[in-house]
Amino acid sequence: VRDGKRAGADGDGVVTEGTEPFEEAVAPADASGSQLVVDLDGYEGPIDVLLSLARDQKVDLTHISILQLADQYLAFISAARRLQLEIAADYLVMAAWLAYLKSRLLLPEPQPDDEPSGTDLAAALTYQLQRLEAMQQAGARLMARPQLGRDVFARGAPEGVPLVKKAQYEATLFELLKAYGEGRSRADSAVLHIEAQELYSMDDALQRLTRYIGRMPDWRTLASFLPANLRVGLIGRSAVAATFAASLELVREGRLQLRQDKTFGPIYLRSPPISEAST
C-alpha cells in the first residue's frame, strides 16, 4: 500500500496549485532524483489521478466541475513533464482526451454529427470517477472487516461429524433378465463358428462367362450375364463383383471386350470381332 505517496499527492496540493514551485523543484529533483513532488508511481492510472484531483475540489463527485478537473489534470501532466518524469502512455492519452473534452465543453453549439455531446462525455467521465471511487471505498471496507485467522477464529479442534454412507443398490428386473439373456446368448455364440458365407466366386463367374464367349457379337450389359437366381442381396453383389473381375481377366486374355460409356454407367460386354481377335 502506498499510503505515503498518495497522501503526498492528495494532501500537499502542490500538484494542483500554481506551477511556480515546480520550476524551482526541477533542479534539485534532477540532481538528487529523490525529491519528486509529482510522483506518478503513487497512482493507479489516470482515472486514479483524476479522482485524487477531484477530491481537491472538495465537492461531491456529482457536482464536480469537469472543466476545472481537466485543467488540473493537464497542469499535473505538464508539471510532470517539466520534471522530465517518464509518463506512461495511458496518462498522455488521458491528457489528450481531456483537452479534446475541454474543447467540446467550451464549444457553444453541439457538433453536427451524431457524436456524443461534451456534456455526455463529461457525464461518462463523472460516472467512471464515481465507480472507481466506489470500488476504492468498497475495497477499504472489505479489508476493514474482521478477517478469519487474524481477527476472528474458527473452532480450533473441530471433532468432526461422522457421515456414514449406506449404499442402496439399484437394479431392475429388466436389467436382470437382459443380463441373463445376453450372457446366455453370448455363451451360445461363443461355441458358434461363423459359417462360410454363400458367395458367388470369380471361378464360378469365369466358368459361366466362358460358356458365352464367341456367342455374343453385340454389346450386352454385364448384368444380363448374372445368374437369374443371384441378382439380389449380398450374393447378388458378389455375383456382380465376381463377374466383373472375371470379365477383366477375359479381356486381358483378349477373349472379351468391355465398354462403359460414363462413370457408374452400365458395363457392356461382347466377344471381340474376329478380325481384331486375330491381331
Partner: protein
C-alpha cells in the same frame, strides 16, 4: 444473557470461552491466566463456564491437564448422519445375480463357467451387501464349495412371487432378450475366446463388456418402444 461486556468478570469469561473454542488443543489454566489480569480467579471462572455449558450441546471438560470443549456425550452418536447413496449394480454383478437366480443353488465355479469369465471377489460381496443373495449350504463335492441362492428380499425388490416366476429361456427369446448372434459376431467371438484365458489374471470387465455396454442403450430404447 445478563452478561454485559463491560463487566470485567463477564469479559474474562468471554475471553476464556473464545480461547478454548479457537485453540487446537486443550489449554492449561496457567496459559489462560496469562491472558487475563493478574488477580483473576481463573479456577472460579472455569467452574462458572463449565456450569453454563453443563446442560448444553457442548461441555467444558478437562483433558490431559487442559481445558477444552467437547460434544456432550449423549449427543455425539446423534450427530452421525446416515446417508443412503443410490448405486447401480455393475454389469458383472447384475449378470452374476441373474445366473444365481436362474441356477441356484450354484457355486462360484459354476457361475464362472456359465459366464466364461472369472468373478471378482467384490461382486459376490456387493450382492451380499445388497441383501439379494445368501449362502444355501455346501455342495457335497471336492472342496465342499458354498452354493449361492437368492434371498427373500431379492424377490421383494424384483417383484417376484417366487423364483419360478422368472421367465424361462423361451420366454426370454420371445421377448427379444436373447437375440440371434449378431452378424458381426466373428470379431466379437474371436475376441471373446482370445481374451477370456488371458483375462484370467485380471478380474472382470474386459473390453467385450464395454462393447456390450455401448449397445445397451440401444437395447433399452428398443425395448421401451416395444412395450
Amino acid at each position: 444473557m445478563t452478561d454485559t461486556p463491560t463487566d470485567p468478570r463477564a469479559d474474562a469469561l468471554r475471553l476464556i470461552e473464545a480461547l478454548l473454542f479457537a485453540s487446537a488443543s486443550p489449554v492449561e489454566e496457567a496459559s489462560i491466566a496469562d491472558r487475563l489480569p493478574e488477580d483473576t480467579d481463573v479456577t472460579a471462572l472455569l467452574a462458572e463456564l463449565a456450569e453454563h455449558y453443563s446442560g448444553r450441546g457442548v461441555h467444558l471438560v478437562k483433558i490431559a491437564g487442559g481445558w477444552t470443549f467437547r460434544t456432550a456425550p449423549d449427543i455425539g452418536p446423534r450427530l452421525k448422519l446416515e446417508t443412503t447413496v443410490q448405486r447401480r449394480l455393475s454389469r458383472a454383478a447384475v449378470e452374476t445375480l441373474a445366473i444365481i437366480a436362474y441356477h441356484q443353488p450354484v457355486t462360484r465355479a459354476e457361475i464362472e463357467e456359465i459366464r466364461g469369465v472369472q468373478i471378482s471377489k467384490g461382486t459376490i460381496d456387493t450382492l451380499l451387501e445388497a441383501g439379494w443373495i445368501m449362502p444355501k449350504g455346501r455342495r457335497e463335492t471336492v472342496g465342499r464349495p458354498v452354493t449361492w441362492g437368492t434371498s427373500e428380499s431379492f424377490l421383494h425388490h424384483f417383484g417376484l412371487g417366487e423364483i419360478a416366476d422368472l421367465p424361462g429361456m423361451d420366454e426370454l427369446k420371445a421377448a427379444g432378450l436373447i437375440g440371434e448372434p449378431p452378424v458381426v459376431s466373428l470379431r466379437e467371438n474371436s475376441q471373446m475366446s482370445e481374451v477370456a484365458p488371458a483375462n484370467a489374471a485380471e478380474p472382470e470387465e474386459p473390453s467385450p463388456e464395454l462393447d456390450a455396454l455401448a449397445e445397451q442403450g440401444e437395447l433399452v430404447a428398443e425395448h421401451g418402444a416395444e412395450h
